[in-house]
Every structure is written in C-alpha cells, then in structure tokens.
C-alpha cells in the first residue's frame, strides 16, 4: 500500500494540525469551557423572559437527557434500542398516575418513575440479551408500540384517548415551580446531574465493560466480562434516565396522552443521537441542539421536518457514521467500503 500523495501536501498537514491543536486546546481547558457554558446557561433566563425561548431551551435540556440515555445504550454498549419513546411513555405515565391518583410528591415520584422504567427495560431486554442486536432492536420497537397502545386503550388507568389532565406542578419547600423560567432551572439541574453521573459511570468498571462489549463482544467475554449482565445493566441504566425524563416532562406539559409517544418521537430522539454523535457525552447534546433548532427553523414547513432528519441520518451514515461529535476511535466510526474510494485506489495502483 502506497502513501497517498495528497496526504503530503502542506495544506493537508496544516489542516490536520489545526484540527488536532483545536481538539487538544479544548481538552486542556475542558473544565473552564464547562464552567463557562454553565454560567452562561444559568444567567440566561435573567436576560430574557420570553417563554418561547425558554421553552426551546427546556426542550433542548430534556432531549439531551433522552438522547444521552439512548446514547448509553446505542453508543456505549453497541446494543440497538429503537424504543426509547416507549420508556419515555412509561416514565411520563407513571409520574402522571402517581401524582394525580396517589397524590405523591414529585421528588419522591421522580426516582420511583425511573426505577419502574428500568424494571420495564429489564423485562424488555431479558428475552433478547443473548442474541445479536437486531432482535433487541425489533423487540424494543415493538415494545414502544405496545406501550403506546396500552396507554391508548387501558382507559381505567391511563384515561385512554382522553389522556391525564391536571398533573400537579412540583414544589420545593412550598414554592411551586410554575413558569417556564422555573422549569428551565429544573431541567438544567437535572441535565447536569445526568451528565455528571453518566460521565462517572462510563469511566468506572461498568462503563469500560460496556465499551469493551461494543468493540468486540467475544473478546470481552473471553477476558472475563460477564457480557449479558453488563448489557442488562446498560439497558436498565438507559431506561432509568429515559423514565426520569418522562417524569420531568409530565408536570411541564400538565396534560399527557398517547400521541406524545409515537414512533416518530422515537425516530426524533434516534436522529439526535446519530446526527450529534454516538459514544461521546457531548454527542447527544450537539444532536439535541441541532435537531431542536431545526425543528424551530422548519416549523413553517412542518411536514418536511422528518424528511430533513431522514436525509441527515442517511448522509451521516454515508460519510460520518459516528456522527458530528462521535467517538472517532471506536467501532461506531467504521465506514463501509466506499465504491468511489475503492475505484480511486485501484486506479492509482494500476498506474503505479
């Protein structure tokens, strides 16, 4: 194999150096970047009180958690979950039912909803843990539809097509969180907690086990990783945070019915993960920002929104399968053979 002469051009070298130095610069001052962006985000509501802008930010935080939860499943352990909307649905409905029927406190319900969703996730994953990813993909997809159909038809519990009305807002020490500014801070805090916990988890033994399963399941098994147990933990972890996100969502909209949790919602979250990047913490956040921004941008031509996401997914898979900010040094970044490149190489070899 010969060295590609285009690599030796000065411009190419300079280009790769700038990217590298930018990356190392960002990594070096990572802490300052984080603190700076957190500061900006936390003082932002002081300057604007327009509920539209704050609402968009709330969506971005919420979907950062959802896409991040999906990313821990798809990006970190290389499993296929397509039914994240189902877990979102379970979390939201458990919050709504417990707060309206059982009149429980929001802060107690929040972890309970997460745990319920994690148990549901375990139940979904159990029959498929020992097989290849595709079965898990279909079963989760089916689960998402089943969850929605149950929410639509189990009228005595979920209100059926009427949904659940009048979900009480959360309170802190008697102070009710009502406006979008309050919810902005609630979502920001929970998103930061999610990011912090996830960053600790993926650097722990568990997270390393997940990544080894993603890279090569057989090899990690032969090195003593109990793969099916770690995959189950991974699935439950992702489902837990999706449930938390659902439980946060229900009091924000104050009325839920089954139309919030269609398959389109699942594709929406999946496109965030794919466009933003798989296998990194920042990836889903980037995806959430891009997709939510596109949603607002394309609002006048609503129907073309999903077409745009679909095209973006295909483009990403063709040219950058790990996504914009994905893990470049992993199996999610491996492209297929590209016919064009193959042709070019063979032509060059023929000339040489």
């Amino acid at each position: 194999m010969k060295i590609d002469p285009s690599m030796l051009k000065p411009s190419a070298i300079a280009n790769s150096n700038t990217i590298k130095s930018t990356k190392s610069f960002i990594l070096k001052y990572q802490v300052y970047f984080l603190i700076g962006s957190l500061l900006i985000l936390s003082i932002l509501p002081l300057f604007t009180n327009r509920s539209y802008i704050l609402g968009v930010f709330c969506r971005i935080f919420l979907y950062s958690i959802l896409a991040g939860a999906l990313n821990t499943i798809n990006g970190y352990s290389g499993q296929f979950c397509l039914g994240i909307a189902g877990f979102f649905c379970v979390g939201a409905y458990s919050e709504a039912i417990l707060s309206t029927a059982a009149k429980m406190n929001f802060w107690i319900i929040l972890p309970i909803a997460g745990i319920i969703t994690a148990l549901v996730g375990l139940l979904v994953a159990l029959p498929t843990l020992k097989m290849q990813g595709i079965y898990l993909a279909i079963v989760t997809l089916g689960f998402s539809e089943i969850a929605r159909l149950l929410a639509l038809n189990w009228t005595s519990l979920t209100g059926g097509p009427m949904g659940i009305k009048g979900i009480p807002v959360p309170e802190i020490f008697g102070f009710a969180l009502k406006t979008s500014r309050h919810f902005y801070y609630l979502y920001l805090v929970l998103a930061v907690i999610f990011l912090f916990v996830t960053s600790r988890v993926i650097r722990s033994r568990i997270g390393r086990a997940w990544m080894s399963i993603r890279e090569d399941q057989l090899a990690s098994k032969s090195l003593g990783v109990f793969t099916s147990r770690y995959k189950a933990i991974n699935f439950m972890y992702g489902a837990f945070w999706a449930g938390i996100a659902g439980a946060m969502y229900a009091p924000y909209v104050r009325f839920i019915d089954s139309t919030y949790f269609t398959l389109d919602e699942g594709w929406n979250i999946l496109s965030m993960v794919i466009i933003g990047g798989q296998g990194t913490l920042i990836g889903p956040i980037v995806g959430s920002v891009i997709v939510n921004y596109l949603t607002e941008l394309l609002r006048p031509i609503g129907q073309w929104r999903m077409v745009a996401y679909a095209l973006l997914i295909i483009v990403m898979m063709w040219w950058r399968p790990q996504g914009l900010a994905g893990a470049s040094n992993s199996i999610v970044a491996v492209k297929g053979e590209t016919r064009m490149r193959h042709r070019k190489v063979s032509r060059k070899e023929a000339q040489a």
């Binding site: 498929t128 279909i138 089916g142 159909l149 038809n153 089954s258 679909a310 297929g336 016919r339």
Partner: protein
C-alpha cells in the same frame, strides 16, 4: 396526521357480518374468524417471503419493507384508478413499483455497506424508511383513501361458515406467487445463484457469481413480492394510508423470525400463524390490540428458539 390514527384502519374487519348471537353464533364467529385469519395470514406470508428473500440474499436486516409494501399498495391504487378493475395489470404495476423502490433501497442502504459493521446499514434503512414514509405522506396526503372494488363481494356459504370471493382470490394469488418463487429458486440458473449467494457470499464470489448484482436482483425480487402483498392488503381492507407501512414491516420481521429470518418456507408458515393468532386474538379482546399479537408471537419464538426452527446453512444475519 398523528401516527395514532392508523390503528383505526385495522379496526373495521372486512367482509364478515350477520352473526346470530348465542352459543352457536359464537362458534360460527370463531370459525369465520379462522377463515379470515387464514386469508390474512396468506398475505402476511407473502410479505414474510419477500422479507426473508431480501434478508437472505443481501445478508442485512432491513426496516424498509413496510414502506415497500405501502408503495406497492399505492401503485395498485393509482393503477386501478386509471384502468378500472384490471387486477392482472394492478399486480404487474405494484410488483414493478416495489421493484424500482427496491433498487433505490439497494443503492442507498446496502451497496456501500457490505463490509461495514452491521448497525451502519441498519440505521441507513431506518433513515430511508423515514424518508419514504414522510415523502409519501406529503405526496399522497396523510389521510386514509378508500380502495376501489376490484373483486365482487360474493359470499359462498358452507353451513354457517362464509367465505368471500375476494378471500379465495387472495389465497390463490399467494399460492401462485409462492409456487412461482419456488420454481425460480429451484429450476432457473438465476434462482440457484440466489440460493448460493444467500448461503455463502465469499464462496459464490469465488465460483464466478457477480455477488453484488445477484444481491441487487434478489433484493428487488423480495421487494416486488412485498409490493404484491401491499396490493392484496389494500384490496382486502379497502383502505390505504401512507403510514400503513410501519406495523406491516414489523409483522413481516416477526413472521420470518420463525425461520431464522432467512428460510422462505418457515417465514410463510410464520406469517400464516400470525394472521390466525391475530384474528382469533381479537375475538377475545378488542380490535385495537391487534398489533400486539404479532409481538407476542415474536417474543414467544425468541424465548423458545431464538435461532429459528431450521438448522442454519450459511447465511448468518
């Protein structure tokens, strides 16, 4: 148009009516549901045959099959609209439309990804199915369309059991298609190439088969069968809708799990089973739970025998 509304489309079971109430009426209802189940299962079987041909030959799992079926149904709708009730013409057109879509699916989702990790082509098929679904919602409109009557609704009665002419036509069409496919597979050189590619790509490459071309043609063939299944579904239910593809694709998958995703005969059996289970299931519950039975079947098969009920030769998916 919200996704929730396509469930309504399946809520109105076609062509059976007039039951007497009481014990005897209940038994007749059960038998009629069995007949309906067999007819619907025949359509599912055709879908599943197409799916397992695609998965076997290409070697990658697809999520676009539901959209392929939907395109077949719409092609038939417009053909019947233009030509009156020429059912043969409709069959040819829906086969051709789905064949063409299959070609695009191959070009976009498979051709570059034969050596890539599996999730890349899978996610591309998901993106492509989103694209087709939403584009056709824009082009054909999001609402249900009533299908034209192509077969007269005559009923034959055998005792209390009634079977419509339409159901007989559907079952006969499926049987003819399955026979044609098995003739292609066993008697022609092309079919033998297809079988070789689905069993071992490297070995068939070594004996001089143009693997990519055969994979493309096999994919188109499977998609074409899906298109015919779409026509039959549209005629049977009398409605078509741009969002109908989603649950159908999943049912095709669930059926072909019975044969380990690649075996044609067991996929057909799986489709028949799902059709019967669904129609008997809604005698016990309400019709809105219809889509759940396919998943119940899928999960049951995955628990009992996840690798399918055939011993595998090559062709791992």
């Amino acid at each position: 148009m919200k996704e929730g509304s396509y469930a309504n489309m399946w809520d109105t079971p076609p062509s059976y009516s007039l039951y007497e109430t009481g014990e005897a009426g209940r038994m007749d209802y059960f038998l009629n549901q069995l007949i309906n189940g067999i007819c619907q299962g025949a359509i599912y079987a055709l879908m599943a045959i197409g799916y397992s041909v695609v998965v076997g030959v290409v070697g990658m799992v697809t999520f676009t099959h539901g959209e392929v079926i939907m395109i077949g149904a719409f092609a038939a709708y417009y053909m019947f609209f233009l030509s009156g009730n020429q059912i043969i013409l409709g069959l040819i057109v829906s086969f051709a439309a789905s064949w063409v879509l299959g070609y695009f699916v191959y070009k976009v989702c498979y051709e570059r990804f034969f050596n890539a990790p599996r999730h890349v082509s899978l996610l591309t098929t998901i993106g492509f199915s989103m694209l087709i679904k939403n584009l056709s919602q824009i082009i054909f409109g999001p609402n249900q369309k009533p299908m034209l009557d192509v077969v007269e609704a005559n009923f034959f009665r055998i005792g209390a059991v009634q079977i419509s002419e339409l159901q007989i036509v559907i079952i006969i069409t499926v049987i003819i298609m399955a026979t044609l496919l098995s003739l292609i597979f066993n008697k022609t050189k092309f079919g033998i190439r297809l079988k070789a590619v689905s069993q071992d790509k490297t070995a068939s490459y070594m004996v001089g088969i143009n693997v990519k071309r055969v994979a493309m043609l096999g994919n188109c063939l499977g998609c074409g069968l899906g298109g015919i299944a779409g026509l039959l579904l549209a005629v049977y239910y009398q409605t078509i809708q741009a969002t109908m593809g989603g649950p159908l694709g999943m049912k095709a998958f669930a059926s072909s799990v019975l044969g380990g995703l690649t075996d044609v005969r067991f996929s057909a059996l799986g489709g028949l089973c799902i059709g019967i289970i669904e129609n008997l299931g809604i005698t016990v519950t309400t019709a809105s739970f219809r889509d759940m039975f396919a998943f119940g079947f899928l999960i049951l098969v995955l628990i009992i025998r996840p690798q399918g009920f055939v011993s595998k030769k090559g062709a791992k998916v």
